[in-house]
């Protein structure tokens, strides 16, 4: 696009405003989590006491453990299914609109609708609800995102290397493990990290499929119930940790996928 000195300054101002809007609320949250008084009204010195109090909170530790279990298993299943799906979709002779719609819909369907649909389905089956039902629900949207990341990589994937491997004497199975999989691995891991973040953060669907009682409560559910009682310094600390984990996973995901982006 056109670019000259005249247009440079307005552009920079707009970017400054944009990033302030996007990051200021988060920055305030992070800053408050280190405020000794915990109050938004005044700064009373740097302290990690809210983080320490968080570590002593059994409810939160329990919820964090549940979240980890859900995110790990959902990511694992979604990564395998999503990668196979992407490979299948990109190597099909013909594009199927029905298939595209099915795979795309978890990204746009209002989550409250998916949540009540799963609740209806699971209660009709009289299924016992718990972490396993949260996992199977999270796989739905996780696999859509893994699939889209791997597909994006496949768009620039030179399929002639697969043929070259066959030509040099490798069976289809050997070709997958020696050629296709290693070349796609960065994209697969990037997709998995994205899925993991989404799973860690997801609230409504987990809320509807966790079943009654506190045994299967996840971190977002815990945070939601805390928010309803107003601001507490612990939420700020917890929010900071969750944000840091997400941001870390996302930066890593982006870094792994950088070759793809530059192409």
């Amino acid at each position: 696009m056109e670019r000259d000195v005249k247009t440079r300054w307005p552009g920079r101002l707009i970017l400054l405003a944009l990033f302030s809007f996007l990051y200021l609320p988060i920055a305030v949250l992070v800053l408050l989590s280190f405020n000794d008084s915990g109050l938004p009204t005044s700064w009373s010195g740097f302290s990690t006491r809210w983080y320490r109090s968080l570590m002593g909170n059994q409810d939160i530790l329990h919820a964090a453990w549940n979240t980890l279990v859900v995110a790990l298993f959902a990511t694992l299943i979604a990564t395998v299914l999503g990668t196979l799906l992407a490979l299948g979709m990109e190597t099909r002779a013909r594009r199927s609109n029905g298939l595209e719609a099915l795979v795309f819909s978890p990204m746009v369907i209002p989550d409250i609708v998916l949540a009540v649909a799963l609740l209806t389905f699971l209660s009709r089956l009289n299924a016992t609800m718990g972490l396993h039902t949260i996992i199977l629900s999270h796989v739905i949207f996780d696999l859509a995102f893994v699939c889209s990341v791997v597909r994006a990589r496949l768009k620039t994937f030179d399929f002639s290397i697969v043929e070259a491997s066959r030509d040099l004497g490798a069976s289809p199975f050997q070709t997958f493990w020696r050629i296709t999989f290693p070349v796609l691995l960065p994209a697969i891991v990037a997709g998995a990290l994205l899925a993991f973040t989404l799973s860690v953060d997801e609230f409504i669907i987990a809320f509807f499929t966790a079943g009654a009682g506190r045994s299967s409560i996840t971190l977002p559910m815990q945070i939601y119930s805390m928010i309803r009682f107003g601001i507490t310094p612990e939420i700020n600390a917890l929010a900071t940790i969750v944000m840091a984990v997400s941001a870390g996973a996302l930066v890593l995901s982006q870094w792994l996928n950088r070759e793809n982006r530059s192409q």
Binding site: D158, S160, I161, E163, A164, S165, R166, D167, L168, G169, A170, S171, Q174, R178, I179, P182, V183
Partner: protein, 350 residues
């Protein structure tokens, strides 16, 4: 090594249909042992599909492919003792040059020491030893091309298939690699089948070539034969530069623009239109004489020679005439006299 007449690869009535389109329409060809054979044709003529059928990536809809007399058409690519060098080179991006070369030998289950020995030898042959530990994205286009070639040759294939092997290189490098490929073919003593759309490349490299169009072979033979005696108008036009003069056969004589041109008319139908083809270098040009009168309308300087564009009463488009660059006798606007040697005139009625 000179090509022996024994066919190593026989394509026997090969047909390939994709849905309703016929990509390869009943091709039969014999490729002789140790020859450099070129499949030449415009894009979409079916040459790449034919090559992929030989390699095993397409199953023929009909017909057979025989290697050393045995039908290989039911075999998957990995079971065929021939290798393909891909147009995109298809180097494995996550492996070094050495690993790329060793891959095919690993698949044969050879011992590690033997693989290392053969890889080192091939690296030396193709002048790649210094680049052995580089990854493909650290190589130039020409280097990638050599790695791709080495990776295929190291398998000692009975036939090496090359799909537009020089297509991605610039003109200078391409000319150098044409000779390099020929040298390598002599050195390893293997049959090469190359697919190309570049007629000059095919003429320079191939012992024999086949011209393909719409999935059919139009002509198959040595470069000289095809250049000098094209079988039809398409081949005449596709190979080299050619002048075409539209006219008709009347009383056993070819006439155009009211004038008769002496040429061999045997076997042609009298009273029907015909086209006379003659190459620019086969037209004699004099400042005066009893040939066909014309006027120089344009001159293009090509370094070695000059191309004159001469308007005559024979046809609407000016004829192209090639004279040595040292011959500066003609200027735009000059009247000249053209002479066609009957032996170089070819007539087509298709």
């Amino acid at each position: 090594m000179t090509p022996s007449p024994r066919p190593i690869l026989s394509i026997d009535g090969a047909v390939k249909r994709f849905g309703k389109t016929v990509a390869v329409d009943g091709i039969s060809l014999d490729i002789r042992e140790n020859e450099f054979f070129a499949l030449l044709g415009p894009s979409g003529c079916g040459k790449t599909t034919l090559l992929r059928m030989i390699a095993g990536f397409e199953t023929p809809s009909a017909g057979r492919i025989l290697l050393d007399g045995a039908d290989i058409s039911p075999l998957p690519p990995e079971k065929r003792p021939l290798n393909l060098m891909f147009q995109s080179y298809a180097l494995f991006p996550h492996m070094s040059v050495r690993q790329n070369l060793g891959y095919g030998l690993e698949m044969e289950g050879l011992p590690k020491a033997e693989i290392a020995r053969r890889v080192d030898a091939m690296l030396a042959t193709t002048d790649l030893s210094a680049l052995a530990d580089r990854k493909p994205d650290q190589l130039s286009g020409g280097q990638k091309q050599r790695v791709a070639l080495a990776r295929a040759l190291i398998k000692r294939p009975k036939v090496l298939l090359l799909d537009e092997p020089l297509g991605a290189l610039d003109k200078k490098l391409r000319e150098k690699m044409q000779l390099e490929l020929k040298r390598l073919q002599h050195e390893v003593g293997t049959t090469f089948i190359i697919v190309t759309h570049d007629q000059e490349e095919a003429l320079v490299m191939a012992d024999r070539l086949a011209i393909l169009k719409d999935g059919k072979v139009l002509q198959c033979g040595g470069p000289e034969e095809i250049y000098e005696r094209p079988a039809n108008r398409f081949v005449a036009n596709f190979i080299g530069v050619m002048n075409f003069i539209e006219g008709s056969i009347e009383g056993g004589v070819f006439r155009a623009g009211g004038q008769a041109i002496e040429a061999d008319t045997s076997g042609l139908a009298t009273g029907r239109p015909a086209t006379l083809a003659i190459r620019p270098e086969n037209i004699a040009v004099h400042s005066a004489g009893n040939g066909f009168a014309g006027e120089v309308v344009d001159i293009a300087y090509h370094g070695l020679d000059r191309q004159l564009y001469v308007r005559t009463g024979l046809c609407d488009t000016p004829l192209q005439v090639r004279v040595p660059a040292s011959n500066g006798a003609f200027a735009v606007g000059a009247t000249v006299s053209l002479g066609f040697a009957p032996a170089h005139c070819r007539l087509f009625q298709d």
